[in-house]
């Protein structure tokens, strides 16, 4: 079953895969982000309680979901690296980390800007805001640890341990903080059977969720590609790559 996956452990193949997938992800990201955002801002009805401020939901919820999803993806990449000794898995891990950190920052910032009119304060020590803040620290820890090593293979292994330790802790942190204090409204789209949100409000949210997911995918692919080249500078295939890109630049 895993046989088809193995060739992609080789950096060159992984690079080609990134190259093939990137345009698709980028197109989906741009198209859905435009449709979802415009729909959400212009066409979706206003919330009967929160008025137009609820439109922040169209970036807040997708970025919050993706901030956690990206963390899990990062930890899975780290675990794959540890178990099967793939260097490309560590590269994937460190390619995802900054993207996830940016998603976390967006979720925090939009949460604050939504909280100000709704709760009357930019920041409240609400359970989800707090766990999101801690998630940002976890991302920063992984990135800082990776940056601290000169030997990048060792860096990948070390940061991988922290990513896995972090993913074990994320649910504990989340539930402990939730138990500690809760003020945040319940999850909006976790109950798919009977959503607590009107369909005409839900559609743009789902489209934007797809857009954010494709955005995270596209940027991670781009960063993974850079990371691969960076680490494989002395390989012949990189030399061919550079020669090709030079030829293309001269043609233009």
């Amino acid at each position: 079953m895993w046989k088809w996956l193995h060739p992609y452990a080789k950096p060159e193949r992984a690079y080609q895969l990134c190259h093939t997938l990137l345009p698709w992800f980028a197109t989906v990201a741009v198209v859905s982000l435009i449709i979802g955002t415009v729909w959400g801002l212009v066409f979706a009805p206003a919330d009967y309680q929160q008025g137009d401020s609820f439109r922040i939901i169209y970036i807040h919820v997708p970025s919050a979901i993706l901030s956690m999803g990206a963390y899990v993806a990062m930890a899975i990449a780290a675990a794959v690296g540890m178990i099967w000794q793939w260097r490309t898995a560590y590269m994937t891990m460190i390619a995802i980390a900054p993207v996830g950190a940016v998603m976390t920052f967006i979720a925090l910032f939009t949460g604050a800007a939504w909280g100000k009119p709704m709760w009357g304060a930019w920041w409240v020590w609400d359970a989800r805001l707090t766990s999101e803040l801690i998630l940002l620290f976890l991302y920063l820890g992984v990135m800082a640890l990776y940056a601290a090593f000169d030997d990048k293979l060792q860096a990948g292994k070390a940061a991988g341990v922290m990513a896995v330790v972090g993913v074990v802790n994320v649910p504990i942190i989340h539930y402990s903080v939730e138990w500690w204090n809760t003020l945040h409204q319940g999850a909006t789209i976790s109950k798919f059977g009977k959503p607590s949100i009107a369909p005409e409000m839900l559609w743009p949210l789902l489209i934007n969720l797809l857009g954010f997911a494709a955005f995270v995918g596209a940027i991670s692919l781009m960063r993974l590609r850079n990371e691969i080249v960076q680490r494989e500078l002395h390989r012949p295939w990189v030399a061919d790559l550079v020669a090709n890109s030079n030829a293309r630049a001269e043609k233009e």
Binding site: F137, A144, A148, M162, G166, N169, I172, I173, S176, W180
Partner: protein, 221 residues
């Protein structure tokens, strides 16, 4: 003498020869706690209100100061490589090092906590809850800390990085520990919080040996 007993004896001897390194985090702990009454005012009610949190935050911060000592010297002297080459189980030896670190850096802290409880005007039930949370929580700090120290021991500038890696992981512990003490202050049962801390400790005890072993091996290359 078995290699484990020999290692434990060596660790203890070394720790008591470097008394300043033993005492400094403890002094730091007391100093941080004395700063709070000066900062927020001497009102006994306020001190009692913030006391549990202050003691636990100070304990976590002072533990970060001494945490590097866990593997740093042995790594620099090549002693960890010797351990890795020995016949005895590396995981077992590392766990013994963590145990001895806990004995020399946290047990004194638990012992002087009655004094600090007096300074912060904690009541007697709060004091017992504080003791229970410290007794169960500090081994957890040592075990999780050992993972991060194992990873950063080869780096020259590990200090701040260690804090960045560890503080987020200690948040659940801080929440449940302070909540137990607050329940005790209100004469409520605090068994559930203690049980959760114990559960966290047991889970960490089961999983961290592998992580510590792997982390040290990454640093040893």
């Amino acid at each position: 003498m078995s290699p484990y007993a020999a290692l434990l004896k060596r660790e203890m001897t070394l720790a008591f020869r470097q008394k300043s390194e033993l005492i400094q985090p403890l002094v730091f702990f007391v100093l941080v706690i004395t700063l709070f009454p000066l900062g927020v005012g001497p009102s006994p009610d306020i001190l009692q209100r913030i006391g549990p949190g202050v003691i636990w935050v100070a304990a976590i911060l002072s533990s970060l100061l001494g945490m590097e000592r866990l593997f740093r010297d042995d790594f620099q002297h090549g002693w960890l490589e010797q351990l890795a080459l020995s016949d005895a189980s590396m995981t077992g030896l590392l766990m013994l090092k963590v145990l001895s670190h806990w004995l020399v850096s946290f047990v004194p802290l638990v012992i002087i906590s009655p004094l600090l409880a007096l300074l912060l005007n904690l009541t007697e039930p709060m004091y017992w809850a504080l003791m229970a949370t410290l007794a169960l929580g500090t081994p957890l700090v040592s075990l999780v800390g050992a993972i991060a120290v194992g990873l950063t021991v080869g780096l020259n500038r590990g200090g701040v990085l260690l804090a960045l890696l560890l503080i987020p992981l200690f948040i659940p512990l801080l929440i449940f520990a302070t909540s137990a003490i607050e329940s005790a202050a209100m004469q409520l049962p605090y068994g559930p919080q203690i049980a959760i801390i114990a559960a966290l400790l047991l889970t960490t005890l089961a999983l961290s040996p592998f992580a510590i072993n792997y982390a040290v091996k990454v640093s040893l290359h």
